[in-house]
Symmetry: C2
Subunit: 315 residues, 2 copies
Amino acid sequence: MIRNLIREIQKKEAPIVVGLDPAAKLIPQHLIEEEFEKEGCGSGEDPAAEAFSRAIIRFNERLIDSIHDLVPAVKPQIAMYEQFGIPGLYAYRHTVEYARKKGLIVIADIKRGDIGSTSEAYAMAHLGKSRAKEYSFPAFDADFATVNPYLGSDGVMPFVEACNREDRGIFVLVKTSNPSSGEFQDRPVSDGNGRLLYELVADKVREWGELSMDGDYSNVGAVTGATYPEQGRILRKLMPKTYFLVPGYGAQGGTAKDLAPFFNEDGLGAIVNSSRGIIGAYRQEAYASYGEERFDEAAREAVLRMRDDLKILFR
Amino acid sequence: MIRNLIREIQKKEAPIVVGLDPAAKLIPQHLIEEEFEKEGCGSGEDPAAEAFSRAIIRFNERLIDSIHDLVPAVKPQIAMYEQFGIPGLYAYRHTVEYARKKGLIVIADIKRGDIGSTSEAYAMAHLGKSRAKEYSFPAFDADFATVNPYLGSDGVMPFVEACNREDRGIFVLVKTSNPSSGEFQDRPVSDGNGRLLYELVADKVREWGELSMDGDYSNVGAVTGATYPEQGRILRKLMPKTYFLVPGYGAQGGTAKDLAPFFNEDGLGAIVNSSRGIIGAYRQEAYASYGEERFDEAAREAVLRMRDDLKILFR
Protein backbone atom coordinates (compact mmCIF):
# COMPACT_ATOMS: atom_id res chain seq x y z
CA MET A 1 0.00 0.00 0.00
CA ILE A 2 2.86 2.44 0.72
CA ARG A 3 3.81 2.07 -2.93
CA ASN A 4 0.37 3.37 -3.93
CA LEU A 5 0.77 6.34 -1.64
CA ILE A 6 4.22 7.15 -3.03
CA ARG A 7 2.93 6.84 -6.59
CA GLU A 8 0.12 9.30 -5.88
CA ILE A 9 2.49 11.70 -4.09
CA GLN A 10 4.79 11.69 -7.11
CA LYS A 11 1.98 11.97 -9.64
CA LYS A 12 0.48 14.97 -7.88
CA GLU A 13 3.84 16.39 -6.83
CA ALA A 14 2.42 16.98 -3.39
CA PRO A 15 3.60 15.21 -0.21
CA ILE A 16 0.42 16.50 1.39
CA VAL A 17 -2.45 14.94 3.29
CA VAL A 18 -5.49 17.05 4.13
CA GLY A 19 -6.89 16.45 7.60
CA LEU A 20 -10.67 16.18 7.46
CA ASP A 21 -11.26 17.10 11.11
CA PRO A 22 -14.65 18.81 11.17
CA ALA A 23 -14.57 20.44 14.59
CA ALA A 24 -17.89 22.26 15.01
CA LYS A 25 -16.28 25.68 14.73
CA LEU A 26 -14.80 24.80 11.31
CA ILE A 27 -18.09 23.78 9.69
CA PRO A 28 -19.54 26.76 7.80
CA GLN A 29 -22.51 28.17 9.68
CA HIS A 30 -24.81 28.16 6.64
CA LEU A 31 -24.39 24.39 6.21
CA ILE A 32 -25.32 23.82 9.84
CA GLU A 33 -28.34 26.11 9.65
CA GLU A 34 -29.62 24.50 6.46
CA GLU A 35 -29.40 21.06 8.01
CA PHE A 36 -31.14 22.15 11.20
CA GLU A 37 -34.03 23.44 9.07
CA LYS A 38 -34.54 20.01 7.47
CA GLU A 39 -36.53 17.18 8.95
CA GLY A 40 -34.44 14.51 10.69
CA CYS A 41 -33.75 11.79 8.14
CA GLY A 42 -32.11 9.24 10.44
CA SER A 43 -33.50 7.38 13.39
CA GLY A 44 -34.66 10.69 14.81
CA GLU A 45 -33.19 9.91 18.23
CA ASP A 46 -30.90 12.89 18.28
CA PRO A 47 -31.80 15.62 15.79
CA ALA A 48 -28.87 17.89 16.70
CA ALA A 49 -26.24 15.19 16.22
CA GLU A 50 -27.92 14.19 12.96
CA ALA A 51 -28.06 17.73 11.62
CA PHE A 52 -24.37 18.28 12.40
CA SER A 53 -23.50 14.97 10.80
CA ARG A 54 -25.36 15.83 7.60
CA ALA A 55 -23.57 19.19 7.56
CA ILE A 56 -20.25 17.36 7.95
CA ILE A 57 -21.04 15.14 4.98
CA ARG A 58 -21.83 18.16 2.78
CA PHE A 59 -18.72 19.98 4.08
CA ASN A 60 -16.45 17.01 3.39
CA GLU A 61 -17.92 16.17 -0.02
CA ARG A 62 -17.37 19.70 -1.26
CA LEU A 63 -13.85 19.78 0.19
CA ILE A 64 -13.01 16.45 -1.44
CA ASP A 65 -14.50 17.54 -4.77
CA SER A 66 -12.39 20.68 -4.64
CA ILE A 67 -9.00 19.17 -3.74
CA HIS A 68 -9.00 15.54 -4.91
CA ASP A 69 -7.00 16.31 -8.05
CA LEU A 70 -4.30 18.13 -6.06
CA VAL A 71 -3.44 15.83 -3.14
CA PRO A 72 -2.80 12.10 -2.77
CA ALA A 73 -4.58 11.57 0.52
CA VAL A 74 -6.98 12.74 3.21
CA LYS A 75 -6.86 11.97 6.93
CA PRO A 76 -10.15 12.03 8.80
CA GLN A 77 -9.68 12.26 12.57
CA ILE A 78 -12.35 9.88 13.87
CA ALA A 79 -12.76 11.68 17.22
CA MET A 80 -14.34 14.62 15.42
CA TYR A 81 -17.03 12.24 14.14
CA GLU A 82 -17.31 10.05 17.25
CA GLN A 83 -18.35 13.13 19.24
CA PHE A 84 -21.57 13.15 17.19
CA GLY A 85 -22.35 9.52 18.15
CA ILE A 86 -23.87 7.08 15.65
CA PRO A 87 -24.80 9.74 13.06
CA GLY A 88 -21.27 11.12 13.34
CA LEU A 89 -19.74 7.74 12.66
CA TYR A 90 -22.07 7.32 9.72
CA ALA A 91 -20.64 10.61 8.39
CA TYR A 92 -17.14 9.24 9.05
CA ARG A 93 -17.77 6.06 7.09
CA HIS A 94 -19.39 8.01 4.26
CA THR A 95 -16.37 10.33 4.14
CA VAL A 96 -13.95 7.40 3.90
CA GLU A 97 -15.98 5.83 1.10
CA TYR A 98 -16.51 9.07 -0.78
CA ALA A 99 -12.82 9.98 -0.67
CA ARG A 100 -11.75 6.54 -1.89
CA LYS A 101 -14.28 6.70 -4.74
CA LYS A 102 -12.68 9.97 -5.79
CA GLY A 103 -9.28 8.26 -5.99
CA LEU A 104 -7.90 9.53 -2.70
CA ILE A 105 -5.95 7.38 -0.26
CA VAL A 106 -7.54 7.51 3.18
CA ILE A 107 -5.48 7.59 6.37
CA ALA A 108 -7.81 6.82 9.29
CA ASP A 109 -6.52 8.81 12.25
CA ILE A 110 -7.81 6.50 14.95
CA LYS A 111 -4.79 6.02 17.24
CA ARG A 112 -6.10 2.64 18.37
CA GLY A 113 -3.98 0.10 20.22
CA ASP A 114 -4.86 -2.59 22.78
CA ILE A 115 -4.01 -6.15 23.82
CA GLY A 116 -3.63 -8.60 20.92
CA SER A 117 -7.16 -9.93 20.49
CA THR A 118 -8.61 -6.43 20.80
CA SER A 119 -6.13 -4.85 18.39
CA GLU A 120 -7.12 -7.56 15.95
CA ALA A 121 -10.74 -6.42 16.14
CA TYR A 122 -9.66 -2.79 15.57
CA ALA A 123 -7.45 -3.81 12.64
CA MET A 124 -10.32 -5.67 11.00
CA ALA A 125 -12.67 -2.75 11.66
CA HIS A 126 -10.45 -0.15 10.01
CA LEU A 127 -8.21 -1.96 7.50
CA GLY A 128 -10.02 -4.18 5.04
CA LYS A 129 -12.64 -6.63 6.19
CA SER A 130 -14.04 -7.79 9.51
CA ARG A 131 -14.40 -11.53 9.92
CA ALA A 132 -16.95 -13.18 12.19
CA LYS A 133 -17.72 -16.89 12.01
CA GLU A 134 -18.01 -17.66 8.28
CA TYR A 135 -18.89 -14.07 7.32
CA SER A 136 -16.75 -11.16 6.24
CA PHE A 137 -17.74 -7.54 5.62
CA PRO A 138 -16.10 -4.10 5.68
CA ALA A 139 -16.76 -1.90 8.71
CA PHE A 140 -14.76 1.36 8.33
CA ASP A 141 -12.47 0.34 5.54
CA ALA A 142 -9.56 2.80 5.13
CA ASP A 143 -6.14 2.44 3.44
CA PHE A 144 -3.99 3.41 6.43
CA ALA A 145 -4.63 3.73 10.17
CA THR A 146 -2.66 5.36 12.97
CA VAL A 147 -1.69 3.08 15.87
CA ASN A 148 -0.63 3.72 19.49
CA PRO A 149 2.42 1.63 20.57
CA TYR A 150 2.12 1.88 24.40
CA LEU A 151 1.13 -1.81 24.77
CA GLY A 152 4.13 -3.09 22.80
CA SER A 153 4.47 -5.64 19.99
CA ASP A 154 1.44 -7.77 20.67
CA GLY A 155 -0.73 -4.66 20.48
CA VAL A 156 0.78 -3.63 17.13
CA MET A 157 1.30 -6.95 15.33
CA PRO A 158 -2.39 -7.54 14.50
CA PHE A 159 -2.26 -4.27 12.53
CA VAL A 160 0.94 -5.37 10.74
CA GLU A 161 -0.75 -8.65 9.86
CA ALA A 162 -3.72 -6.73 8.46
CA CYS A 163 -1.27 -4.67 6.36
CA ASN A 164 0.00 -7.88 4.77
CA ARG A 165 -3.35 -9.63 4.49
CA GLU A 166 -5.27 -6.68 3.04
CA ASP A 167 -2.48 -4.63 1.43
CA ARG A 168 -2.91 -1.69 3.80
CA GLY A 169 -0.60 0.46 5.90
CA ILE A 170 -0.23 1.95 9.38
CA PHE A 171 1.54 4.88 10.98
CA VAL A 172 2.69 4.15 14.53
CA LEU A 173 2.91 7.08 16.98
CA VAL A 174 6.60 7.69 17.68
CA LYS A 175 7.08 11.38 18.50
CA THR A 176 3.77 13.25 18.52
CA SER A 177 3.33 16.94 17.68
CA ASN A 178 1.66 18.12 20.90
CA PRO A 179 3.39 20.30 23.54
CA SER A 180 3.56 17.61 26.25
CA SER A 181 4.65 14.78 23.96
CA GLY A 182 8.06 14.81 25.64
CA GLU A 183 6.67 13.90 29.06
CA PHE A 184 7.10 10.19 28.38
CA GLN A 185 8.37 10.03 24.78
CA ASP A 186 11.55 12.06 25.52
CA ARG A 187 12.53 10.18 28.69
CA PRO A 188 16.12 8.98 28.56
CA VAL A 189 16.20 5.23 29.07
CA SER A 190 19.00 3.41 30.87
CA ASP A 191 20.47 1.45 27.99
CA GLY A 192 23.97 2.86 28.43
CA ASN A 193 23.68 4.95 25.26
CA GLY A 194 21.62 7.85 26.58
CA ARG A 195 18.81 7.13 24.17
CA LEU A 196 15.27 8.37 24.55
CA LEU A 197 12.02 6.42 24.69
CA TYR A 198 10.84 7.58 21.26
CA GLU A 199 14.09 6.22 19.79
CA LEU A 200 13.34 2.79 21.25
CA VAL A 201 9.85 2.99 19.79
CA ALA A 202 11.51 3.90 16.47
CA ASP A 203 13.68 0.77 16.69
CA LYS A 204 10.56 -1.32 17.10
CA VAL A 205 8.79 0.44 14.23
CA ARG A 206 11.74 -0.41 12.01
CA GLU A 207 11.57 -4.06 13.13
CA TRP A 208 7.82 -4.27 12.56
CA GLY A 209 8.35 -2.52 9.24
CA GLU A 210 10.68 -5.21 7.99
CA LEU A 211 7.76 -7.61 8.16
CA SER A 212 5.75 -5.58 5.65
CA MET A 213 8.02 -4.10 3.00
CA ASP A 214 6.41 -2.83 -0.21
CA GLY A 215 9.09 -1.61 -2.59
CA ASP A 216 11.68 0.73 -1.06
CA TYR A 217 9.53 1.60 1.91
CA SER A 218 7.50 -0.28 4.48
CA ASN A 219 3.74 -0.34 4.98
CA VAL A 220 4.53 0.35 8.65
CA GLY A 221 5.11 4.10 8.94
CA ALA A 222 5.64 6.47 11.85
CA VAL A 223 3.93 9.60 13.17
CA THR A 224 6.57 12.27 13.80
CA GLY A 225 5.43 15.80 14.65
CA ALA A 226 6.57 18.74 12.50
CA THR A 227 6.91 20.71 15.72
CA TYR A 228 10.02 18.66 16.63
CA PRO A 229 12.43 18.93 13.66
CA GLU A 230 15.53 17.98 15.68
CA GLN A 231 13.90 14.72 16.71
CA GLY A 232 12.80 14.31 13.09
CA ARG A 233 16.43 14.35 11.98
CA ILE A 234 17.32 11.60 14.45
CA LEU A 235 14.30 9.52 13.53
CA ARG A 236 14.98 9.86 9.80
CA LYS A 237 18.35 8.15 10.38
CA LEU A 238 16.92 5.47 12.69
CA MET A 239 14.18 4.51 10.25
CA PRO A 240 15.43 5.03 6.68
CA LYS A 241 12.75 2.87 5.08
CA THR A 242 9.87 4.14 7.18
CA TYR A 243 7.43 6.65 5.75
CA PHE A 244 6.65 9.51 8.11
CA LEU A 245 3.22 11.03 8.64
CA VAL A 246 4.07 14.54 9.82
CA PRO A 247 1.31 16.47 11.61
CA GLY A 248 1.74 19.92 13.16
CA TYR A 249 2.44 21.99 10.03
CA GLY A 250 0.60 25.30 9.95
CA ALA A 251 -1.90 25.71 12.78
CA GLN A 252 0.25 23.79 15.28
CA GLY A 253 3.31 25.93 14.47
CA GLY A 254 5.52 23.87 12.13
CA THR A 255 6.99 25.64 9.05
CA ALA A 256 8.32 24.32 5.71
CA LYS A 257 11.88 24.82 6.93
CA ASP A 258 11.11 22.61 9.92
CA LEU A 259 10.03 19.84 7.55
CA ALA A 260 13.33 19.23 5.74
CA PRO A 261 14.70 16.75 8.32
CA PHE A 262 11.71 14.45 7.85
CA PHE A 263 12.46 13.82 4.16
CA ASN A 264 15.03 11.44 2.69
CA GLU A 265 17.50 12.48 0.02
CA ASP A 266 15.29 10.89 -2.62
CA GLY A 267 12.72 13.59 -1.82
CA LEU A 268 10.47 10.91 -0.40
CA GLY A 269 9.91 9.52 3.08
CA ALA A 270 7.36 11.95 4.46
CA ILE A 271 3.81 13.16 3.95
CA VAL A 272 2.79 16.37 5.71
CA ASN A 273 -0.65 16.86 7.20
CA SER A 274 -2.59 20.09 7.38
CA SER A 275 -6.12 20.17 8.79
CA ARG A 276 -7.38 23.53 10.02
CA GLY A 277 -4.99 25.34 7.66
CA ILE A 278 -6.86 23.86 4.68
CA ILE A 279 -10.43 23.05 5.67
CA GLY A 280 -10.72 26.18 7.82
CA ALA A 281 -8.84 28.42 5.35
CA TYR A 282 -12.01 30.41 4.66
CA ARG A 283 -11.86 31.70 8.23
CA GLN A 284 -8.37 33.18 7.75
CA GLU A 285 -7.75 36.76 6.72
CA ALA A 286 -5.66 35.64 3.72
CA TYR A 287 -8.67 33.87 2.19
CA ALA A 288 -11.41 36.21 3.40
CA SER A 289 -12.40 37.18 -0.14
CA TYR A 290 -13.91 33.71 -0.67
CA GLY A 291 -16.39 34.13 2.15
CA GLU A 292 -17.95 31.26 4.06
CA GLU A 293 -20.00 30.11 1.06
CA ARG A 294 -16.93 29.36 -1.03
CA PHE A 295 -15.01 27.50 1.68
CA ASP A 296 -14.10 24.80 -0.83
CA GLU A 297 -12.35 27.24 -3.17
CA ALA A 298 -10.48 28.73 -0.21
CA ALA A 299 -9.35 25.19 0.72
CA ARG A 300 -8.14 24.62 -2.84
CA GLU A 301 -6.09 27.80 -2.81
CA ALA A 302 -4.65 26.87 0.61
CA VAL A 303 -3.56 23.50 -0.80
CA LEU A 304 -1.91 25.20 -3.78
CA ARG A 305 -0.02 27.55 -1.47
CA MET A 306 1.05 24.67 0.75
CA ARG A 307 2.26 22.75 -2.31
CA ASP A 308 4.35 25.75 -3.33
CA ASP A 309 5.66 26.11 0.20
CA LEU A 310 6.80 22.47 0.26
CA LYS A 311 8.26 22.48 -3.25
CA ILE A 312 11.80 23.00 -1.94
CA LEU A 313 11.59 19.68 -0.07
CA PHE A 314 10.22 17.55 -2.81
CA ARG A 315 11.91 16.66 -6.05
CA MET B 1 -18.04 9.20 40.39
CA ILE B 2 -15.46 6.94 42.08
CA ARG B 3 -17.52 7.28 45.26
CA ASN B 4 -20.51 5.81 43.41
CA LEU B 5 -18.41 2.89 42.22
CA ILE B 6 -17.07 2.22 45.72
CA ARG B 7 -20.58 2.38 47.18
CA GLU B 8 -21.81 -0.19 44.68
CA ILE B 9 -18.78 -2.43 45.26
CA GLN B 10 -19.45 -2.38 49.00
CA LYS B 11 -23.20 -2.85 48.66
CA LYS B 12 -22.78 -5.89 46.43
CA GLU B 13 -19.65 -7.11 48.22
CA ALA B 14 -18.05 -7.69 44.85
CA PRO B 15 -15.00 -5.80 43.52
CA ILE B 16 -15.90 -7.20 40.14
CA VAL B 17 -16.52 -5.74 36.71
CA VAL B 18 -17.85 -7.97 33.95
CA GLY B 19 -16.28 -7.36 30.56
CA LEU B 20 -18.93 -7.30 27.85
CA ASP B 21 -16.59 -8.18 24.97
CA PRO B 22 -18.75 -10.04 22.47
CA ALA B 23 -16.10 -11.60 20.26
CA ALA B 24 -17.93 -13.57 17.56
CA LYS B 25 -16.90 -16.93 19.03
CA LEU B 26 -18.46 -16.03 22.39
CA ILE B 27 -21.92 -15.23 21.04
CA PRO B 28 -24.12 -18.32 21.31
CA GLN B 29 -24.70 -19.83 17.90
CA HIS B 30 -28.49 -20.00 18.27
CA LEU B 31 -28.70 -16.22 18.77
CA ILE B 32 -26.69 -15.61 15.62
CA GLU B 33 -28.75 -18.06 13.58
CA GLU B 34 -32.04 -16.60 14.76
CA GLU B 35 -30.93 -13.10 13.79
CA PHE B 36 -29.70 -14.22 10.39
CA GLU B 37 -33.15 -15.69 9.73
CA LYS B 38 -34.85 -12.33 10.37
CA GLU B 39 -35.26 -9.56 7.85
CA GLY B 40 -32.71 -6.75 8.18
CA CYS B 41 -34.25 -4.04 10.33
CA GLY B 42 -31.58 -1.36 9.92
CA SER B 43 -30.42 0.49 6.87
CA GLY B 44 -29.99 -2.84 5.16
CA GLU B 45 -26.54 -1.93 3.88
CA ASP B 46 -24.80 -4.78 5.59
CA PRO B 47 -27.08 -7.61 6.66
CA ALA B 48 -24.31 -9.71 8.25
CA ALA B 49 -23.02 -6.89 10.45
CA GLU B 50 -26.61 -6.07 11.38
CA ALA B 51 -27.52 -9.63 12.27
CA PHE B 52 -24.42 -9.98 14.46
CA SER B 53 -25.18 -6.66 16.11
CA ARG B 54 -28.74 -7.68 16.93
CA ALA B 55 -27.40 -10.96 18.34
CA ILE B 56 -24.97 -8.95 20.49
CA ILE B 57 -27.80 -6.84 21.86
CA ARG B 58 -29.78 -9.95 22.84
CA PHE B 59 -26.65 -11.59 24.30
CA ASN B 60 -25.78 -8.52 26.37
CA GLU B 61 -29.32 -7.84 27.56
CA ARG B 62 -29.69 -11.36 28.89
CA LEU B 63 -26.25 -11.22 30.51
CA ILE B 64 -27.04 -7.89 32.15
CA ASP B 65 -30.45 -9.13 33.34
CA SER B 66 -28.77 -12.16 34.87
CA ILE B 67 -25.90 -10.46 36.73
CA HIS B 68 -26.95 -6.87 37.45
CA ASP B 69 -27.87 -7.59 41.07
CA LEU B 70 -24.49 -9.24 41.75
CA VAL B 71 -21.88 -6.83 40.36
CA PRO B 72 -21.36 -3.07 40.48
CA ALA B 73 -20.17 -2.55 36.93
CA VAL B 74 -19.74 -3.77 33.37
CA LYS B 75 -16.97 -2.92 30.94
CA PRO B 76 -17.80 -3.10 27.25
CA GLN B 77 -14.70 -3.23 25.04
CA ILE B 78 -15.66 -0.93 22.15
CA ALA B 79 -13.37 -2.69 19.61
CA MET B 80 -15.62 -5.75 19.75
CA TYR B 81 -18.49 -3.54 18.56
CA GLU B 82 -16.50 -1.30 16.21
CA GLN B 83 -15.58 -4.38 14.16
CA PHE B 84 -19.26 -4.60 13.18
CA GLY B 85 -19.26 -1.01 11.90
CA ILE B 86 -22.24 1.31 12.40
CA PRO B 87 -24.65 -1.46 13.51
CA GLY B 88 -22.00 -2.66 15.96
CA LEU B 89 -21.64 0.79 17.47
CA TYR B 90 -25.40 1.02 17.74
CA ALA B 91 -25.24 -2.23 19.77
CA TYR B 92 -22.47 -0.67 21.86
CA ARG B 93 -24.52 2.43 22.64
CA HIS B 94 -27.58 0.34 23.41
CA THR B 95 -25.52 -1.83 25.77
CA VAL B 96 -24.20 1.22 27.64
CA GLU B 97 -27.71 2.63 28.01
CA TYR B 98 -29.30 -0.69 28.97
CA ALA B 99 -26.68 -1.40 31.64
CA ARG B 100 -27.03 2.05 33.16
CA LYS B 101 -30.82 1.71 33.24
CA LYS B 102 -30.36 -1.50 35.20
CA GLY B 103 -28.31 0.37 37.81
CA LEU B 104 -24.88 -0.76 36.62
CA ILE B 105 -21.89 1.54 36.36
CA VAL B 106 -20.41 1.42 32.86
CA ILE B 107 -16.66 1.51 32.21
CA ALA B 108 -16.13 2.23 28.52
CA ASP B 109 -12.97 0.37 27.51
CA ILE B 110 -11.98 2.68 24.67
CA LYS B 111 -8.26 3.36 25.34
CA ARG B 112 -8.49 6.70 23.54
CA GLY B 113 -5.84 9.41 23.81
CA ASP B 114 -4.68 12.09 21.36
CA ILE B 115 -3.52 15.72 21.20
CA GLY B 116 -5.51 18.12 23.40
CA SER B 117 -8.29 19.26 21.07
CA THR B 118 -8.86 15.69 19.85
CA SER B 119 -8.88 14.18 23.34
CA GLU B 120 -11.48 16.79 24.20
CA ALA B 121 -13.73 15.46 21.44
CA TYR B 122 -13.25 11.88 22.70
CA ALA B 123 -13.96 12.94 26.29
CA MET B 124 -17.20 14.61 25.23
CA ALA B 125 -18.15 11.60 23.12
CA HIS B 126 -17.73 9.08 25.93
CA LEU B 127 -18.16 10.93 29.24
CA GLY B 128 -21.31 13.00 29.51
CA LYS B 129 -22.36 15.35 26.77
CA SER B 130 -20.91 16.50 23.47
CA ARG B 131 -21.04 20.24 22.85
CA ALA B 132 -21.16 21.81 19.40
CA LYS B 133 -22.00 25.46 18.85
CA GLU B 134 -24.99 26.13 21.15
CA TYR B 135 -26.12 22.48 21.24
CA SER B 136 -25.33 19.66 23.62
CA PHE B 137 -26.26 15.99 23.38
CA PRO B 138 -24.94 12.65 24.60
CA ALA B 139 -23.03 10.47 22.12
CA PHE B 140 -21.81 7.30 23.93
CA ASP B 141 -22.37 8.38 27.49
CA ALA B 142 -20.59 6.07 29.97
CA ASP B 143 -19.53 6.56 33.61
CA PHE B 144 -15.83 5.77 33.19
CA ALA B 145 -13.49 5.50 30.20
CA THR B 146 -10.01 4.03 29.79
CA VAL B 147 -7.33 6.43 28.50
CA ASN B 148 -3.92 5.93 26.84
CA PRO B 149 -1.16 8.18 28.29
CA TYR B 150 1.46 8.02 25.51
CA LEU B 151 0.87 11.66 24.43
CA GLY B 152 1.37 13.05 27.96
CA SER B 153 -0.60 15.55 30.05
CA ASP B 154 -2.24 17.55 27.31
CA GLY B 155 -3.71 14.33 25.91
CA VAL B 156 -5.09 13.29 29.31
CA MET B 157 -6.23 16.59 30.85
CA PRO B 158 -9.36 16.96 28.67
CA PHE B 159 -10.55 13.67 30.16
CA VAL B 160 -9.77 14.88 33.71
CA GLU B 161 -11.73 18.05 32.99
CA ALA B 162 -14.67 15.95 31.79
CA CYS B 163 -14.46 13.97 35.07
CA ASN B 164 -14.92 17.20 37.01
CA ARG B 165 -17.49 18.77 34.69
CA GLU B 166 -19.70 15.70 34.30
CA ASP B 167 -18.90 13.75 37.50
CA ARG B 168 -17.29 10.85 35.65
CA GLY B 169 -14.07 8.88 35.98
CA ILE B 170 -11.20 7.49 33.94
CA PHE B 171 -8.67 4.68 34.22
CA VAL B 172 -5.32 5.54 32.64
CA LEU B 173 -3.21 2.70 31.20
CA VAL B 174 -0.18 2.28 33.47
CA LYS B 175 0.93 -1.38 33.36
CA THR B 176 -1.19 -3.39 30.96
CA SER B 177 -1.91 -7.11 31.27
CA ASN B 178 -0.61 -8.31 27.90
CA PRO B 179 2.61 -10.34 27.42
CA SER B 180 4.59 -7.58 25.65
CA SER B 181 3.49 -4.74 27.95
CA GLY B 182 7.04 -4.56 29.33
CA GLU B 183 8.57 -3.66 25.97
CA PHE B 184 8.16 0.06 26.66
CA GLN B 185 6.38 0.19 30.02
CA ASP B 186 9.16 -1.65 31.91
CA ARG B 187 12.06 0.34 30.44
CA PRO B 188 14.34 1.72 33.16
CA VAL B 189 14.57 5.48 32.78
CA SER B 190 17.70 7.47 33.56
CA ASP B 191 16.47 9.45 36.55
CA GLY B 192 19.24 8.21 38.86
CA ASN B 193 16.80 6.05 40.84
CA GLY B 194 16.51 3.07 38.53
CA ARG B 195 12.82 3.62 38.06
CA LEU B 196 10.77 2.20 35.22
CA LEU B 197 8.58 3.99 32.68
CA TYR B 198 5.32 2.71 34.18
CA GLU B 199 6.37 4.19 37.54
CA LEU B 200 6.75 7.60 35.91
CA VAL B 201 3.34 7.20 34.34
CA ALA B 202 2.05 6.29 37.82
CA ASP B 203 3.53 9.53 39.21
CA LYS B 204 1.61 11.47 36.59
CA VAL B 205 -1.60 9.57 37.26
CA ARG B 206 -1.28 10.50 40.92
CA GLU B 207 -0.77 14.16 39.98
CA TRP B 208 -3.72 14.18 37.59
CA GLY B 209 -5.74 12.38 40.25
CA GLU B 210 -5.21 15.15 42.77
CA LEU B 211 -7.19 17.40 40.44
CA SER B 212 -10.28 15.21 40.70
CA MET B 213 -10.64 13.79 44.21
CA ASP B 214 -14.02 12.36 45.21
CA GLY B 215 -13.90 11.22 48.83
CA ASP B 216 -10.92 9.05 49.75
CA TYR B 217 -10.13 8.15 46.16
CA SER B 218 -9.70 9.99 42.89
CA ASN B 219 -11.87 9.87 39.79
CA VAL B 220 -8.60 9.30 37.92
CA GLY B 221 -7.81 5.61 38.23
CA ALA B 222 -5.19 3.32 36.70
CA VAL B 223 -5.20 0.15 34.61
CA THR B 224 -2.83 -2.38 36.19
CA GLY B 225 -2.79 -5.94 34.85
CA ALA B 226 -3.46 -8.89 37.21
CA THR B 227 -0.75 -10.74 35.32
CA TYR B 228 1.92 -8.52 36.94
CA PRO B 229 1.37 -8.73 40.74
CA GLU B 230 4.89 -7.58 41.64
CA GLN B 231 4.40 -4.39 39.67
CA GLY B 232 0.98 -4.10 41.29
CA ARG B 233 2.60 -4.00 44.73
CA ILE B 234 4.88 -1.15 43.65
CA LEU B 235 2.06 0.75 41.99
CA ARG B 236 -0.22 0.37 45.03
CA LYS B 237 2.39 2.27 47.09
CA LEU B 238 3.00 4.91 44.41
CA MET B 239 -0.71 5.67 44.01
CA PRO B 240 -2.45 5.12 47.36
CA LYS B 241 -5.56 7.11 46.42
CA THR B 242 -5.87 5.76 42.90
CA TYR B 243 -8.46 3.09 42.12
CA PHE B 244 -7.10 0.23 40.03
CA LEU B 245 -8.94 -1.43 37.19
CA VAL B 246 -7.35 -4.87 37.08
CA PRO B 247 -7.77 -6.89 33.89
CA GLY B 248 -6.19 -10.28 33.22
CA TYR B 249 -7.90 -12.38 35.92
CA GLY B 250 -9.04 -15.78 34.68
CA ALA B 251 -8.64 -16.27 30.95
CA GLN B 252 -5.44 -14.18 30.77
CA GLY B 253 -3.88 -16.16 33.63
CA GLY B 254 -4.20 -14.05 36.81
CA THR B 255 -5.39 -15.81 40.00
CA ALA B 256 -7.01 -14.52 43.22
CA LYS B 257 -3.69 -14.81 45.03
CA ASP B 258 -2.12 -12.57 42.38
CA LEU B 259 -4.71 -9.90 43.13
CA ALA B 260 -3.86 -9.16 46.77
CA PRO B 261 -1.14 -6.57 45.97
CA PHE B 262 -3.62 -4.42 44.04
CA PHE B 263 -5.87 -3.85 47.08
CA ASN B 264 -5.34 -1.39 49.91
CA GLU B 265 -5.60 -2.35 53.58
CA ASP B 266 -9.12 -0.93 53.69
CA GLY B 267 -10.11 -3.76 51.31
CA LEU B 268 -10.71 -1.14 48.63
CA GLY B 269 -8.62 0.29 45.83
CA ALA B 270 -9.20 -2.24 43.08
CA ILE B 271 -11.90 -3.64 40.84
CA VAL B 272 -11.13 -6.84 38.96
CA ASN B 273 -12.33 -7.49 35.42
CA SER B 274 -13.35 -10.80 33.96
CA SER B 275 -14.67 -11.02 30.41
CA ARG B 276 -14.46 -14.42 28.70
CA GLY B 277 -14.50 -16.16 32.10
CA ILE B 278 -18.03 -14.85 32.71
CA ILE B 279 -19.75 -14.20 29.40
CA GLY B 280 -18.21 -17.29 27.81
CA ALA B 281 -18.65 -19.49 30.91
CA TYR B 282 -21.20 -21.65 29.09
CA ARG B 283 -18.38 -22.87 26.80
CA GLN B 284 -16.32 -24.17 29.73
CA GLU B 285 -16.49 -27.74 30.97
CA ALA B 286 -17.35 -26.59 34.52
CA TYR B 287 -20.59 -25.00 33.30
CA ALA B 288 -21.42 -27.44 30.50
CA SER B 289 -24.65 -28.54 32.19
CA TYR B 290 -26.24 -25.16 31.37
CA GLY B 291 -25.80 -25.64 27.64
CA GLU B 292 -25.61 -22.83 25.14
CA GLU B 293 -29.25 -21.84 25.62
CA ARG B 294 -28.77 -20.97 29.29
CA PHE B 295 -25.56 -18.96 28.81
CA ASP B 296 -26.93 -16.27 31.14
CA GLU B 297 -27.34 -18.67 34.06
CA ALA B 298 -23.83 -20.00 33.46
CA ALA B 299 -22.55 -16.40 33.60
CA ARG B 300 -24.38 -15.85 36.88
CA GLU B 301 -22.81 -18.91 38.45
CA ALA B 302 -19.38 -17.84 37.16
CA VAL B 303 -19.86 -14.44 38.84
CA LEU B 304 -20.85 -16.12 42.12
CA ARG B 305 -17.75 -18.32 42.02
CA MET B 306 -15.54 -15.33 41.21
CA ARG B 307 -17.07 -13.42 44.13
CA ASP B 308 -16.26 -16.34 46.43
CA ASP B 309 -12.76 -16.54 45.02
CA LEU B 310 -12.14 -12.84 45.72
CA LYS B 311 -13.73 -12.86 49.18
CA ILE B 312 -10.36 -13.18 50.92
CA LEU B 313 -9.29 -9.85 49.41
CA PHE B 314 -12.35 -7.83 50.23
CA ARG B 315 -13.57 -6.94 53.67
